[in-house]
Symmetry: C2
Subunit: 197 residues, 2 copies
């Protein structure tokens, strides 16, 4: 089906452009040019810009679920699985250095604009949160698993933001190592260690 594959290509290009430029800064013309179709043809598949946004978000939710399932299967221990999550910062570092974290930037933009779909975009965070929560539970931290999940989410978000803004890729790589250490051994680099109390 040509129609279906055209629709798929539209979503793919829109997904990429929304990540790279932000939702408001991505125009129909940009997407149409990326897919190499006319704008008229475009409206045959999507009536409004918001409709594309919703489709892109649902697509991201789906691919994220698949990704989490994959990590669930490949990681042998809970700690190893959590490290799979942490390491996407390194895996996607080229784009993250340029455009930040795709989850954080979209959720941030839509929340700030008070957009109707902001909660759906934030559901991407919840997906990671719940998955991480389960991993921490299996790590023997059932009591504060959700707190730990939120801490790691925030940590990785901050690292992506700062590494991108200050163009410091070494910082990103160093922090990924620290996060993995934190998960595995619990060792922490604290400003004023207990031994100094």
């Amino acid at each position: 089906m040509t129609g279906n594959s055209t629709r798929e290509r539209i979503i793919e290009v829109a997904d990429r452009l929304i990540y790279e430029r932000g939702y408001e800064h991505t125009s129909f013309a940009d997407i149409a040019a990326g897919v190499k179709i006319s704008r008229g043809n475009f409206y045959h598949h999507f009536k409004t810009k918001d409709e594309i946004l919703d489709t892109v978000i649902e697509r991201r939710l789906m691919t994220t679920r698949h990704l989490l399932d994959e990590w669930e299967m490949t990681g042998e221990t809970p700690a190893a699985r959590i490290c799979c999550f942490v390491r996407i910062l390194v895996t996607n570092r080229t784009k993250i250095m340029q455009f930040g974290c795709p989850v954080g930037t979209l959720a941030g933009e839509l929340t700030r604009l008070g957009h109707r779909s902001s909660t759906r975009a934030s559901a991407l965070f919840s997906l990671f949160r719940e998955w991480l929560c389960r991993q921490f539970e299996q790590l023997g931290r059932a009591e504060d698993a959700d707190e730990l999940a939120m801490e790691l989410l925030a940590w990785s978000q901050g690292v992506a933001t700062l590494a991108s803004a200050l163009r410091d890729e070494a910082f990103l790589e160093r922090e990924v190592e620290r996060m993995c250490e934190w998960v595995k051994t619990g060792k922490e680099n604290v400003p004023c260690g207990k031994e100094l109390d």
Copy 2:
């Protein structure tokens, strides 16, 4: 001088709107309407949109320097001064919950768009970084003061992003407490304590 005060009012409104809506999504018409002047009058004070962006960034740099000087004087210990920084998350929580961190969102937007002024916007981060670095040095951590400064910056950025996206103000307040604890006592909530090794 009426002219000067009009210019000042333009910068103030532009500063607020750029924070609340983002740079690209803030139009001259919006700013002019906020100041209650005509668009023609506007161009008498600022020739281009980038010119007003630069002015807003320089203004933020200046007010940030003053803020840091204030904390330098009011905080009695290095740890107390660092906590002044951490607590702006709570002080400005209403706006942060709606629009995120003003430093991170602007630097992120400009970096992503490859804007000419992105480095100037990121200089705001550097201002905090260098100030925090000095505080950690005074805390007796001269060796890794800059690393600690970056860690705390990233931490606070991540908390702002996540609290805003998930509309979780309790998380923001809880993390602020944890950050202050971290600075003061070095105690950490780790997923797998050393004692389990």
